[in-house]
Amino acid sequence: MEKTINIKVKVWRQAGPKAKGHFETFELNNISTDSSFLEMIDVLNEKLISERREPIAFDHDCREGICGMCSLYINGHPHGPDDEITTCQLHMRKFKDGETITIEPWRSAAFPVIKDLMVDRRAFDKIIQAGGFISVNTGGVPDANAIPIPKKNADLAMDAASCIGCGACVAACKNGSAMLFVSAKVSQLALLPQGQVEAARRAKAMVAKMDELGFGNCTNTGACAAECPKGVKLSNIARLNREYLCAKLKD
């Protein structure tokens, strides 16, 4: 049965990339515990609009946990307190009546704030552009069943490929490292015969781009994998290190 709670939300407000930000606190009553976290923000925004104030800017799109657009650092956790889900799948039943909920944007040098809770994650696209692909043009490829791939490898590749590129790993990392993101793509492609041809080049190019864009170094704290909404595993970072090392040794 539907329950409602009264909450306070403490939200980061920032007018633009260069503006100084601050927290603003709002009271919200009768929030249904069946509503999603983003629906709670919708309610808040409707309230702000009715008071002729500017609504809170935040990124979101599919609202079913797959596009990677929603972000939000909630009570100190990327995508909030629940495990293995994105903010859009988080529901208000995870919060208590009377609770104050703190909402911040991703905090990372490589992800500058655009407005309020919205950040610029184009750095991730640039890393993929540096090598996160297999160099095949459209057409002229072999039959899909021409190369059998062991089920185990295909499954591991699929697990790595589950990454939604949301940036929670970077937000969770005290160093602001993108290693989990990079390793997920490198692992996916290195595990498949199709991707092995240019595996060395890929690992080097993507790591170099990551360093260039201002992401931090990895110190193996594991915060990234703990907060990843898709459960991308730390073992991918180990695989990336192996791939990278082998590539460097070949130079």
Binding site: S35, I49, S50, R53, R63, C67, R122, V141, D143
Partner: protein
């Protein structure tokens, strides 16, 4: 006697004239059925006149005879008039649609063999704008750039990887026949035509089935981790509307993996500099110069700046318009605005009424609801759909006094298995949705609102074990549990139909070109391949077919004579005018300063659409919808409130611009649904059903594509018909019972 002769002469002359007019009138009218009928009618009337004249010669001169003659002459005039108006009813012929000659299986091969190409040196001199980065947009942008064209690619999200294709769960169809279960290109073609309730174009669908196999090869080469068997070869499952297993999948995230494949190909080209990517940009108009699309006007969503872009050709891949209903499975930013922009510039909007209502979505649970979540159709492979047999059980479920698992097997009504023994739980989506509505309307709904049915896995868990079920559907079960807070391994899922996909869209010819030269439309945004109902796992197939394997060919046929056209300046008057119109619209919206938020008006529109233009439509309901939508339009344009300014990021302004178009689409959908006096696929008119409640097509009257042509603000659009003459497939009543 002389008088008699005069009458005869006059009559002869009249007949002569009438005959001439008829000949003149029908001279260049195509040989469609209706015109033929009229011509026949005119001829018959003329013969009658001749008979009358004959009578006059034989009979004494009487006033009656003269009157009869006049009467007959009048009939000739009417018939001629009818013939003239028959001519003004425009028809799109297969020739207009550029459908190649020849047997079905050879059309695409013949087309490719004879089409014009652009040589590599000239490709570099041509700019192509691609709007959208979903499966269709990203695959097209990447493929065109690989070939050597300069591509400008736009998306509204922060990254091209976010497009809503990413949310497709279940899979992608292809006629590989890896399972050796009797699949073939023809069978995939036939299933798609039949699934679409015989309202799709044969030639396009056949081509789609033909290239389906290339898509799987391409994706595997890109590193898409499709599910595999222990032998290392690709696995398949089956989907609604098919009796073979032809669906390739990557867990419940097939759309994500295919999109990331296309995104990686696109990223490779961006890295090479052959694609210039514009993310967080929203197209606001197309620029047409001397009848050809030559660019777009777009708003930088971060700075608010309106910018102009030139392209030798423009490709639209901006998806469907399901969000007209406010609540749908579409992403929050999915919209139909680009379709409406190009519609207003002259592109035909085809079959707007064909919207797909997906049977397996998580039911609505509150007024705050912002969107609906789909549970993949693949669940129907192992899940069984049921409601209680007894009304008192349904009442107890609605009151929360019983749980699904409390109801004994013999008191369950597996209504899909009961009604459709041959296809059972795997009937096509429209059939499954209507069957759920029928049970809920009869009072057998199973949740507190009475608007849900069960999707039960207890048999599958018994048969396969929990682990196997978890391996197949684990992520979907997890998603369900997070949203609903119930464990689907123990209690059956509750599901209800929701708006999911729009088969209708911008009209395109065989080359995927719209009725505006140089303007192409691909993926869900066009109307072409799914007829009145799309089969599961066919959207991904069509998006990628268009982007990888069709458009990169056909667009060259257009561009081959554009190689001498220099890049145009965006200072041209046409660009300036288009920009000015966009700015005027934005300042008008900002200036309203009313009392209502965009979402509150959008919700209102959504309710009208769901109630009157949803699963069951009636003439009366659709007329009501048209009145109500007009009222909503008035309310929107006089009472909406958009905070902030047009400069800089303003999400409410973005939403308002989209809602302005959703209102117009809603009207067009209702108008089209009202015109189509039959039930077919996703379009169900309650007046047209069999005694068993199945859809009843009216092939003699409505076997055509409805193409709507814009006639100006608040003017009724003109209806142009593209008759669907089935050359290769025999039209039948869809039967999923036996």
């Amino acid at each position: 006697m002389a008088k008699k002769q005069n009458i005869i002469d006059e009559a002869k002359e009249a007949i002569q004239k009438a005959a001439e007019t008829v000949t003149e009138t029908v001279k260049d009218v195509v040989e469609d059925e209706k015109t033929q009928k009229i011509v026949k009618q005119v001829k018959q009337t003329a013969e009658k006149v001749a008979d009358k004249v004959q009578e006059i010669i034989d009979a004494p001169e009487t006033k009656e005879a003269a009157d009869a003659l006049k009467d007959a002459a009048g009939k000739v005039a009417d018939a001629v008039k009818a013939a003239v108006s028959g001519k003004s009813e425009k028809i799109i012929t297969p020739k207009d649609a550029k459908i190649p000659e020849g047997p079905l299986a050879e059309k695409w091969t013949n087309y490719k063999a004879h089409q014009k190409l652009v040589n590599p040196a000239n490709k570099r001199r041509l700019d192509i704008i691609v709007v959208g980065t979903g499966l269709a947009g990203a695959s097209a942008a990447a493929s065109l750039a690989e070939m050597g064209f300069n591509v400008l690619n736009f998306c509204i999200q922060d990254s091209p990887r976010r497009a809503h294709s990413i949310a497709a769960q279940g899979g992608i169809n292809a006629a590989k026949n890896y399972q050796n279960d009797g699949d073939s290109v023809y069978r995939l073609f036939y299933d798609t035509i039949k699934g679409g309730d015989y309202r799709a174009r044969e030639a396009n669908v056949y081509r789609l089935a033909e290239v389906s196999n290339n898509i799987i090869d391409q994706c595997v080469a890109q590193g898409v981790p499709f599910a595999r068997d222990y032998g290392g070869l690709l696995d398949n499952r089956s989907f609604g509307g098919a009796q073979v297993s032809r669906t390739f999948y990557a867990k419940g995230q097939t759309g994500q993996q295919l999109l990331l494949g296309a995104y990686s190909a696109l990223s490779r080209q961006i890295g090479k500099g052959t694609v210039k990517m514009y993310s967080r940009y929203e197209m606001l108009d197309v620029v047409v110069i001397e009848g050809r699309a030559r660019g777009i006007i777009a708003r930088n969503l971060v700075t608010g700046r309106i910018e102009r872009f030139f392209g030798h050709a423009v490709v639209i891949g901006t998806g469907g318009y399901g969000n007209t209903f406010f609540l749908s499975t579409n992403a929050m930013a999915s919209n139909g605005s680009v379709a409406m922009q190009i519609y207003r510039k002259g592109a035909y909007f085809a079959n707007p009424a064909y919207a797909q209502i997906h049977p397996t979505c998580i039911p609505v649970h509150g007024d705050f609801q912002s969107k609906l979540t789909l549970m993949s159709e693949s669940l129907r492979n192992d899940g069984r759909i049921w409601v209680p047999k007894k009304l008192e059980d349904a009442k107890a479920l609605q009151a929360g006094k019983l749980k699904g698992r409390d109801i004994p097997e013999e008191d369950r009504d597996y209504y899909l298995e009961r009604r459709y023994p041959a296809f059972g739980n795997l009937v096509p989506r429209d059939v499954a949705s209507r069957a759920a509505k029928e049970r809920c309307d009869a009072g057998y709904g199973v949740n507190s609102t009475g608007l849900a049915v069960f999707l039960d896995f207890s048999d599958a868990i018994k048969r396969l074990g929990k682990d196997v079920v978890a391996a197949k559907y684990g992520n979907l079960f997890q998603m369900y549990e997070k949203i609903v807070d119930e464990n689907p391994y123990e209690d059956p899922m509750m599901i209800f139909p929701a708006i999911h996909y729009t088969m209708g869209g911008i009209w395109v010819d065989y080359e995927l070109q719209t009725s505006i030269k140089g303007l192409f439309c691909i993926g869900e945004a066009n109307f072409s391949d799914h007829g009145a109902n799309r089969l599961g796992a066919s959207a991904l197939m069509q998006g990628l077919a268009d982007g990888y394997f069709v458009l990169p060919y056909t667009i060259q046929n257009y561009l081959s004579d554009q190689i001498t056209v220099p890049r145009m300046s965006t200072d041209l008057k046409e660009f300036a005018d288009a920009e000015k119109a966009v700015e005027a619209k934005i300042s008008k919206l900002m200036g309203i300063q009313g009392k209502r938020s965009v979402d509150s008006i959008h919700r209102e529109l959504g309710l009208v659409m769901w109630d009157f233009v949803g699963m069951g439509r009636t003439a009366e309901g659709l007329k009501t919808a048209l009145v109500k939508i007009k009222e909503i339009k008035k309310e929107f344009w006089s009472n909406v409130y958009i905070p902030g300014t047009a400069e800089g990021l303003n999400v409410e302004l973005e939403k308002a611009l989209r809602l302005a178009d959703f209102i117009e689409i809603g009207e067009l959908m209702a108008r089209d649904a009202l015109n189509r006096e039959e039930s077919c696929g996703g379009h169900f008119r309650e007046e047209y059903q069999t005694p068993e409640g199945e859809a009843l097509r009216q092939d003699d009257k409505f076997s055509y594509v409805s193409c709507w042509k814009y006639q100006g603000e608040d003017q009724e659009p003109e209806l142009i018909k593209e008759p669907l003459d089935y050359e290769f497939v025999q039209r039948q009543t869809r039967n999923y019972k036996a």
